[in-house]
């Protein structure tokens, strides 16, 4: 028997029938996530049904030194759930139950495999919803949302997952079941709940979440605003916020994205515009009506060439239909595209657009832009054809240059998609060696053997013993033997 057979046998003994998948053919369903350019069949797939079973798998893997890759719905856009040939893929798909809806404390307790949208579905009849709304919300799981700190189009006003998560239960690599947070708001210790959020499956496996739910706003209306110049559009976004207004969402699209979306969705977008803003306001009706007027005046002053205000829920949904179909729409005008995700300080938008245009010429590839304008989060879509030799590599290089530019302009490598394997090798653009070492030391506190989701996030792995060593850079102290104080 080889080691793989040993491992699969042991996993079968600790899990019910059907919870271990180890034939190459069946494992193909798990060989990739939302970053589908990368594929790898894992050592084995386990699909446990209880937290005790997760703990048993983790304990076994820890004792045997077997790597573990956790996976929710497998929708990561950065390869966060990409399997490894020598790792057990731990799928949370069977954890699909909502455990408690608690209106008195305005929260929902759910298993990690429940989809994001299912949380809202469970509470919407009573007027509540769950605010973070990543575009994959039909499919993505709330456990994965915690791992990636997922956002969506409404984070400017309602925050990311981290701002809407009250508590988690996790299983550590040692098989300990721990709870951070709960239905209470503050806890007096280190914010390990905050650290778990966005840790990309490297610190622990989320086995339960407690999410804050909100009362659905009484009404929502949107403006569709065209500009001849992306700089004017960027300025309009800043002017709205400077006027003290925080819209529920402020989305921008450039000319290529506008036309692709219009071809696809017939939303009535102004095809001649260089930039389009969708500005949505939500809240009490009198407030929304008053603010819509203020926003309309602001965008006109900023140079808007067309302004439409939604007069009905159908019209508002139509405004969004184009934006929400932007990715498939771009998919129609190009055989393949890469979706990038960086953030810049919003005032640098015109510089960024110029930079992207010149990169587009340099690489000979088109780029369409959709942009969470309110919070500076860019989603350039780089168009390419994977069947043309070298185009994927060129598109990836183009993407890396865009992300480098984000950092140069004072921004960051990823706003909501995560580092995963995709941006791992760019981490040292944003961080110094000491920055990364400190992050890895935190990893060592949770997982000293580097067994959980290895190969993600960090470009170089250092052994924990090496990271733990103290170096006194100053070297020679004047009188090292004397007390200093």
């Amino acid at each position: 028997m080889n080691r793989r057979d040993d491992i699969c046998g042991a996993l079968r003994r600790m899990l019910p029938d059907g919870c271990v998948v180890d034939s190459t053919e069946s494992m193909k369903a798990f060989d990739s996530d939302g970053l589908s350019a990368y594929r790898q069949v894992p050592l084995a797939v386990v699909l446990p049904e209880t937290v005790e079973q997760i703990a048993a798998v983790m304990k076994y893997c820890h004792e045997q030194g077997v790597k573990v890759v956790p996976r929710g719905a497998g929708t990561s856009l950065s390869g966060g759930a990409l399997p490894l040939a020598d790792a057990v893929l731990l799928g949370l798909g069977k954890f699909n139950r909502i455990l408690e809806v608690d209106y008195a404390n305005r929260c929902v307790v759910a298993q990690p495999g429940v989809t994001n949208l299912a949380i809202t579905h469970a509470v919407q009849a009573d007027g509540f919803y769950y605010a973070p709304d990543p575009s994959s919300q039909i499919a993505c799981s709330v456990g994965g949302n915690v791992a990636e700190n997922s956002g969506g189009v409404h984070c400017l006003k309602y925050g990311l997952t981290t701002n809407n998560l009250l508590g988690v239960e996790i299983v550590t690599i040692e098989g300990e079941i721990l709870r951070f947070g709960g239905k209470h708001l503050d806890s007096g210790d280190y914010d390990l709940l905050g650290v778990m959020t966005g840790s990309e499956g490297l610190l622990g496996v989320v086995s339960e979440v407690t999410l804050r739910i909100l009362q659905k706003p009484a009404t929502a209306r949107a403006l569709l605003v065209g500009f001849e110049d992306t700089g004017d559009a960027g300025k309009a976004v800043g002017d709205v916020i400077a006027a003290g207004i925080i819209p529920a969402g402020m989305e921008m699209m450039d000319g290529l994205a506008i036309n692709a979306a219009e071809d696809f969705a017939n939303a009535g977008y102004p095809r001649e515009a260089a930039a389009l803003l969708i500005i949505e306001l939500d809240g009490p009706e009198v407030e929304v009506d008053a603010l819509i007027e203020r926003v309309e005046a602001i965008v006109r002053k900023a140079g808007a060439t067309s302004v439409r205000v939604s007069q009905s829920e159908e019209e508002r949904n139509l405004f969004w239909a184009g934006r929400k179909s932007a990715f498939p729409a771009v998919g129609r005008i190009s055989p393949d595209y890469l979706c990038m995700d960086g953030t810049i300080p919003r005032r640098r938008l015109p510089d960024m657009m110029r930079r992207m245009n010149s990169l587009s010429q340099q690489y000979g590839l088109r780029v369409a832009n959709v942009f969470h304008a309110g919070d500076g989060n860019l989603h350039p879509l780089i168009l390419f054809d994977a069947n043309q030799p070298g185009e994927l590599e060129r598109a990836e290089e183009f993407g890396a240059d865009i992300l480098r530019s984000c950092v140069e302009m004072g921004g960051v490598l990823t706003g909501e998609h995560g580092v995963g394997v995709e941006k791992r090798d760019l981490m040292n653009i944003q961080f110094t060696e000491d920055d990364l070492k400190q992050q890895q030391r935190l990893k060592c506190a949770f997982d000293p053997g580097h067994l959980l989701n290895p190969g993600k996030v960090f470009p170089h792995l250092h052994r924990c013993a090496e990271l733990g060593r103290l170096h006194v850079h100053k070297g020679k102290l004047p009188h090292p033997d004397l007390p200093r104080f």
Partner: protein, 399 residues
């Protein structure tokens, strides 16, 4: 014992590396207004970071404020006021109850972050930890490191900003920090609703939060406190609900909620004054009482209060819809009873905020951690500060 006064992170590195070499311990101090929060740190010298002061970059239309951690809160608040913005987590001024620092001292933004202090709007807008976007610091290893960034949406690497909030200076010495700001509400008014019991008050507030009228803060005052604050409705408990926004919206929502709850309105000036006193725990400040902070699920508040023997003679105010209880009294048994209540509930925490005698010598100020969680905390502490140079034992024994 001499204070080590430093003016930048380079000097912080020198001082910490000296301490590492000498195996000595440092207490971090800027405004010094929160020294009596938590345990007394064990230290050989004070690392004075009060010179880390000043605003570095403030872009109101980007909602981003970058400043040095030792900047006094009054400077921060003045800059924000000029741009008609706020820190939405509504940081309280605890110097008024702690009696630390110069009289009326505002404390520093670094202190607010280190203690993760948030006020009434925390219920709907989040805590200090939700507004720290990034920072630069020197760890207890004497290494300079940064995390996060200067933009609002960022998931690059671990979110160490969360960890720094509420770490009471035990992980690193912060200098440059970046915060998310928000526009100040144009106006705020409140609604007062009388209730027969704490249970009724908590569920009355829950029913208001189940409407689309967007309450932003909700406190509960027992009748004695309500009377002292001039908002007595002749009922055992008064719920105070705050509505913020543009004038037309606040007026409209207040009208709806008055019709729904049968309460009374409180005008903008009185509302602002009352909420500031609730934020700063002023109703409990004057008497020589220990003050405990309890954070629990809002619906558990009545059970926590019921766990306190009536003979203990406590005063309390509740905030965060019941999820935050400030409990004051002189009995040394308050803390034991609260800790037992929380153990029974299985979640929440009770922290001793002020003691007038020597209560903290007989009971841990921070909620004790369970074995494996404490072990993890020690490993996290060691990953930043293996020798325990920074604010050693400020939070828990042995770390």
């Amino acid at each position: 014992m001499t204070d080590i006064v430093i003016s930048d992170l380079q000097q912080a590195q020198d001082a910490i590396q000296d301490a590492v070499a000498a195996k000595s311990r440092l207490e971090l101090r800027a405004g010094g207004t929160k020294r009596h929060l938590g345990r007394a740190a064990s230290y050989d010298a004070v690392l004075d970071v009060s010179a880390f002061s000043g605003i570095i970059d403030y872009q109101p239309e980007e909602l981003v404020l970058t400043l040095r951690a030792g900047t006094p809160m009054e400077i921060v608040e003045a800059a924000l006021a000029e741009a008609r913005q706020i820190l939405a987590f509504e940081p309280p001024r605890l110097s008024r109850i702690l009696g630390e620092g110069a009289p009326g001292a505002s404390g520093t933004i670094g202190g607010v972050i280190a203690a993760n202090l948030s006020g009434p709007r925390r219920l709907t807008a989040g805590a200090a930890r939700d507004y720290l976007l990034g920072f630069e610091a020197v760890s207890g290893r004497g290494e300079l490191f940064k995390s996060g960034g200067k933009v609002m949406k960022n998931v690059t690497g671990y979110d160490l900003s969360k960890l720094m909030c509420g770490s009471f200076g035990t992980l690193g010495v912060m200098d440059e920090i970046t915060l998310k700001t928000l526009p100040a509400p144009e106006t705020a008014r409140s609604l007062l609703v009388g209730h027969d019991s704490l249970i009724d008050a908590v569920s009355g507030i829950a029913s208001i939060f189940a409407t689309a009228h967007e309450p932003g803060a909700a406190a509960i005052l027992p009748q004695t406190v309500a009377a002292e604050e001039g908002v007595d409705l002749g009922m055992p408990f008064t719920a105070v609900i705050r509505l913020e926004g543009i004038e037309a919206s606040v007026a409209d929502r207040l009208g709806h909620l008055l019709a729904l709850s049968g309460g009374e309105p409180l005008d903008a000036d009185r509302s602002a004054a009352l909420w500031q006193r609730i934020r700063d725990i002023q109703p409990l400040a004057e008497r020589p009482h220990d003050i405990w902070k309890v954070s629990c699920a809002p619906s558990d508040a009545p059970r926590v209060m019921a766990a306190l023997d009536p003979g203990l003679d406590v005063r309390m105010i509740a905030d965060w819809a019941g999820g935050l209880l400030w409990i004051a009294g002189t009995s040394p048994h308050i803390g034991t009873a609260l800790r037992a209540a929380i153990a029974g509930l299985g979640s929440g925490f009770a922290m001793l905020i002020r003691d007038v005698g020597a209560t903290r010598e007989s009971i841990a100020p921070f909620q004790p951690l369970s074995g494996p969680v404490l072990e993890l905390h020690k490993r996290v502490k060691a990953s930043f500060d293996p020798l325990g140079v920074l604010n050693y034992e400020r939070m828990h024994e042995g770390m």
